[in-house]
Assembly symmetry: D3
Homo-oligomer: 136 residues x 6
């Protein structure tokens, strides 16, 4: 356990983590079949309750349902890239590949993001009302 002051960017390794955070580390490692968790989790271990709730919510939302796991990962990644999150782009590109997303699919995804942001720009600039046919 640690009593070192927590600062921005500091990573908490398994040995320093409190039991509630360690349990999340163990669960991630087991379910993802990885020897260690990513830095994102080591940083969130600063606030174990936040970390635990996010891990639980992520599992619930990302589980295959009407959409399959690969499509879900593409949506998560695309939103993160559009939102400018570099860390999320790196880590979720990795997760997407683990679920079978190919380089060709990533190349198409990144062009769709750019197109969507261009289209959003035109919608803001031209400022048209939502069509009645789309509303009811």
């Amino acid at each position: 356990m640690t009593d070192k002051p927590m600062k921005y960017g500091r990573l908490i390794e398994y040995d320093e983590a409190v039991p509630e955070a360690r349990a999340v580390f163990d669960d991630i490692k087991q379910k993802r079949g990885v020897p260690d968790v990513n830095n994102a989790w080591k940083a969130m271990a600063r606030h174990p309750a936040v970390m635990k709730r996010f891990w639980e919510r992520a599992q619930q939302v990302m589980a295959p349902g009407a959409l399959d796991a690969k499509t879900k990962e593409l949506i998560y990644l695309a939103v993160s890239v559009a939102n400018g999150c570099e860390y999320c782009s790196a880590s979720h590109t990795n997760l997407a590949k683990g679920k079978g997303v190919t380089e060709e699919e990533l190349a198409e995804m990144v062009e769709i993001i750019g197109l969507a942001l261009q289209g959003n720009t035109y919608a803001t600039f031209y400022g048209q009302e939502v069509d009645a046919a789309l509303k009811d």
Copy 2:
């Protein structure tokens, strides 16, 4: 053709549009099998060259490739919603349904967007470095 001053939000109907814009209207109506184009296109008709280039680029980027048309629409829609574009949400929800996206899939998509933005927030706040294993 029109010589009325162009203002924010003004829609240009087919009869007032210049020939370059009319050609795009005709092409959209034929390819999408719709009797009229959405307001977004009627507003963009103010700048026919912008409109024409966007229509051409949209067709190229959204055509089925490594990703199918439905997955592409989901990515476009998710990015637009995350980016706060209400018009784009309305029009691309409609396009997505036309490509077979169900209400159940939309419900899952909107939760993934919220989760991704939450995850992006944690990445910014905790400020961890990108893991070496993700970098090379």
Copy 3:
């Protein structure tokens, strides 16, 4: 003066405004040569000190300097459109035209915004380091 409860979206007309807000209304009308102020100012009149400081800062920042007034308006407008602000797009398109910005220039501006957001997307997705040559 008003003692009506202030709510979201409510506009405060000149006759209901407190003296500090009235003085800003008068100054805007005189300096812009318009018979009435836009809704943005009528809404901000709910908080006269906020309104007064923003009007003063806007005049300072937007005054011709190294950049001329027209280029400054284009920058303000482009940022507002990229940021998804529809009201700002409408009002600053109007201000830009008053400073001589043409439809052709607006058409080029909106394409640059879309291009920049596309380029930003690639920078986030590919995640490259800033080149040493750009750093020092």
Copy 4:
């Protein structure tokens, strides 16, 4: 040519690039008169078709037209800064200087961006309708 796995952040140098990407490298170096391309292009070389289309579109959109090259660069840079893209800020500040933008102009630009985002904030918070006079 490379068969090394492509990862986040990895730069592809000229010698490892596929012919389609090499052609873009050559074209950029020649048209910009630089001995090497920036990291952004070396990263995009992972997806040569994306890279090629972006380079072609960038040339088309950024070419002098109704707006001159310097004003266009200022708009691109301002949008990228407002959108939080650090890489783009660094590389396009460099491009802007190459087109004659001065430190005084950059100082004014960055204040306009801050002012616009402040003004956008007020528009969202106060939530006023778009003025009828701005609409038709």
Copy 5:
């Protein structure tokens, strides 16, 4: 219950809602002491599972803890305004007032949001590294 096709922007009133959504309506009305729920909930009733999870998560996150309810509402509102969400600005201004936030506090809050976005702009533009003293 409804079998009408669900479209963008459509509100589902209590009488048309499915039982899972009705239970959320009832819970909100009781806990907030209001005769009817806001449009946001009537729209979300289109996807009752999304609605139910968001209502549960909102109650958990917004409950008084280390931060009191009023401060929590100010943070939620400020983020929503900075993010450009007009609906959220309107509804959470109302909630904030219900928790005792005054007009003077709202006026100060909206200036802080504008200042933060200005400061964020400078951080992106000048691109400085995070200080070592802030990191460890």
Copy 6:
């Protein structure tokens, strides 16, 4: 004083700064009781007039008023995190702690930010109108 060319990311130390920038350095060090200023200020010293105006505006807006200094810092920090600014997250987490914000409060704050962005997403996707009761 320096005549070295100014580039992206370059920090200007006290000894190289022009007198107008030095005066801001001195004022920050004295008012905050710190031996040196953060990198953000050393980078802004490239444009002393921008730096001076931001420092003055920051003091005015962040001074205790209807809201206390701690609540103001939480709002500034939350907006910066939601906006994806990593530098601002690091520096304002530090400032917040200096004003008494605890780890427990930061943990609650970061969850509220994630919740707000999730709620904003739903508002964009479902696209409901602002309730009449919230409007007047």
